[in-house]
């Protein structure tokens, strides 16, 4: 039986926060390494702020498109131009751990979108590509609309993630 109660909920939110951090840096890395993500992000208007969050109190992760470069804003409080909000942490978790696709979550009304729906579609296409890097084929076969195609190797992508993470942590300490 699934655990209930505030303690279990807090655990699920902690998992979500970790995945948001990985996804957050993963999207930035993919925007540099993968020309498909780069092309999608290049179509986003300057100063677009995209937030992915869990209602009602978070966690959340945001990105900003500034001077043609996608920037990771972490869990900072921002005013998003596009907000994708999961109605509950329980609805978000299957997606965040690679058990369900982003589109599957939308299909099940697990998330709301505030902002331009065309931009939201572009953002979802990017998330699919990032999931292709983060999750093994065994999982992506089930959750992605078509087989994951990796333009940069897993290792390079992870390397970039680790590098950026180290640099960010170095900068903040």
């Amino acid at each position: 039986m699934a655990r209930t109660g505030w303690r279990a909920k807090r655990g699920r939110k902690a998992v979500a926060a970790v995945v948001f951090a990985v996804l957050g840096r993963g999207l930035v890395a993919a925007a540099r390494l993968d020309e498909r993500v780069r092309a999608e992000a290049a179509s986003w208007p300057e100063d677009t702020v995209i937030t992915l969050r869990i209602a009602p109190f978070g966690p959340q992760v945001s990105w900003r498109m500034g001077e043609g470069v996608l920037e990771y804003l972490g869990g900072a409080q921002v005013t998003p131009s596009l907000a994708v909000t999961f109605k509950s942490v329980d609805g978000a978790l299957p997606l965040l751990v690679g058990m369900k696709s982003v589109l599957g979550a939308f299909a099940e009304h697990r998330a709301t979108v505030a902002g331009d729906l065309a931009l939201a579609m572009s953002f979802v296409r990017c998330l699919h590509i990032v999931e292709g890097y983060l999750f093994p084929d065994l999982m992506t076969r089930r959750i992605l609309p078509r087989p994951a195609e990796r333009r940069a190797g897993h290792l390079v992508a992870y390397g970039t993630l680790v590098f950026r993470r180290a640099r960010l942590e170095g900068a903040s300490s």
Partner: protein, 393 residues
């Protein structure tokens, strides 16, 4: 068929039948409204279609706050703002929208602005509008196709920024939808056929899309049965109230089905073909439906097979082995489009509508980016789409 999780909502009260519009006074009073703004277009007033509603309102406790008849075929954010202004100036407390998809979507846009303030642009999104709506809304469709009278979506153009704004929210569902055959008996045969094919496509796509659920299936299957039984009757006898009412109900039910279960590849290609080549929506649906079904067949065979009984009747269903019913359902759709081609001149190829081979790549690219594509049970590549569209040319 039971999905792991689904949501379904159709909160709109349906008032359907001969002279149903005459109950509009009661419906407004029941909702606590007494000063409706009638929203329509000049053509519907000229054809004396909107007049039926205005005359019915004259004989009620309600006082018509105004008649806004300047909704264009392609509505826009500017029109929505103007309607909201007219509503406020007239001191109205309800919108009675009489028209096709454009009039109904304009009403939905105006309700967003009137309820949430600011500009329409700020409220774009899916399921993001919260709280109760400030406007009573009665929808009276004058075509039997789009199903907008029971859908929670609206698409409105921002002509300044050249973008289409999409909205989905349960707060866009009308309080009441009135179906009265007097509003559709005058529709010409070809328009009757193409709007019915739009409704048929909503029903068929809702069944194969990823959000299909037991409730949306009920609506979709009932809609298909009504179209099969009554579209030929409406073509034989355009003034048949019974056939018109049946088709209006079919469009409404198909609307409720796809509002909850969504549409897929056929609409994605149709929206794209409309944008690139300007072909009318219903006619695009009629041409593309069998092609989209054929593409989905390997993943949706059982689902389409279930529709054979509604598309072709119980005898055909019983005489077809279970494994062949999906393909037979596509055959049944093809015989309907062939019949409509013969009876009304409805096209069966994109070429007949003037689509040029060199436009196919643009249509394919736009279809891939269309929101409807993401709800299809199977995601095509660009090359696959080119093949499907060439097949329909």
């Amino acid at each position: 068929m039971i999905p792991d999780y689904y949501e379904f909502c159709n909160s709109t009260k349906i008032v359907s039948g001969a002279r149903a519009i005459e109950h509009i006074g009661y419906e407004l009073a029941a909702l606590g409204a007494s000063r409706p703004l009638v929203l329509t277009n000049a053509q519907l007033l000229e054809l004396k279609v909107a007049t039926i509603v205005i005359d019915a309102l004259a004989d009620t406790d309600a006082e018509v706050a105004g008649v806004y008849d300047a909704v264009p075929v392609d509505s826009s954010a500017a029109v929505v703002d103007d309607v909201a202004r007219a509503y406020r100036e007239a001191g109205a407390d309800a919108i009675v929208a009489v028209g096709g998809g454009s009039v109904l979507d304009t009403a939905k846009g105006a309700m967003i602005v009137l309820t949430h303030g600011g500009s329409l642009m700020e409220h774009r999104g899916a399921e993001s509008l919260l709280g109760r709506r400030a406007v009573t809304f009665i929808a009276i469709p004058t075509t039997a196709g789009t199903g907008s009278e029971v859908t929670s979506a609206a698409v409105i153009k921002d002509t300044d920024r050249h973008v289409k704004m999409g909205f989905t929210s349960l707060s866009l569902l009308p309080d009441v939808a009135i179906l009265d055959p007097r509003l559709t008996v005058g529709l010409p045969p070809r328009l009757t056929a193409s709007t019915a094919m739009d409704a048929l496509t909503h029903a068929v796509e809702s069944v194969s899309c990823v959000q299909a659920n037991p409730l949306s299936d009920c609506y979709a299957k009932a809609a298909i049965g009504l179209i099969r039984d009554y579209l030929p009757v409406a073509l034989d006898d355009p003034r048949s109230s019974k056939a018109r009412l049946a088709l209006a109900n079919a469009a409404l039910m198909a609307g409720a089905a796809f509002s909850n279960a969504m549409v897929g590849i056929v609409h994605a290609m149709g929206h794209a073909a409309g944008g690139v080549a300007g072909i009318p929506h219903g006619e695009a649906m009629s041409v593309l439906l069998p092609h989209g079904m054929a593409y989905n067949l390997d993943v949706a065979c059982d689902r389409y097979g279930e529709l054979l009984i509604d598309l072709a009747g119980v005898e055909t269903h019983a005489a077809t082995p279970a494994a062949d019913r999906g393909a037979a359902a596509i055959g049944a759709v093809r015989s309907i489009t062939a019949l409509l081609h013969e009876r009304t001149g409805l096209p069966v190829t994109l070429g007949e509508m003037g689509v040029q081979p060199e436009q196919i790549p643009d249509i394919a690219r736009a279809a891939l980016d269309d929101g409807a594509m993401s709800m299809n049970p199977k995601q095509p590549s660009y090359e696959e789409l080119i093949d499907i569209l060439k097949g329909a040319l």
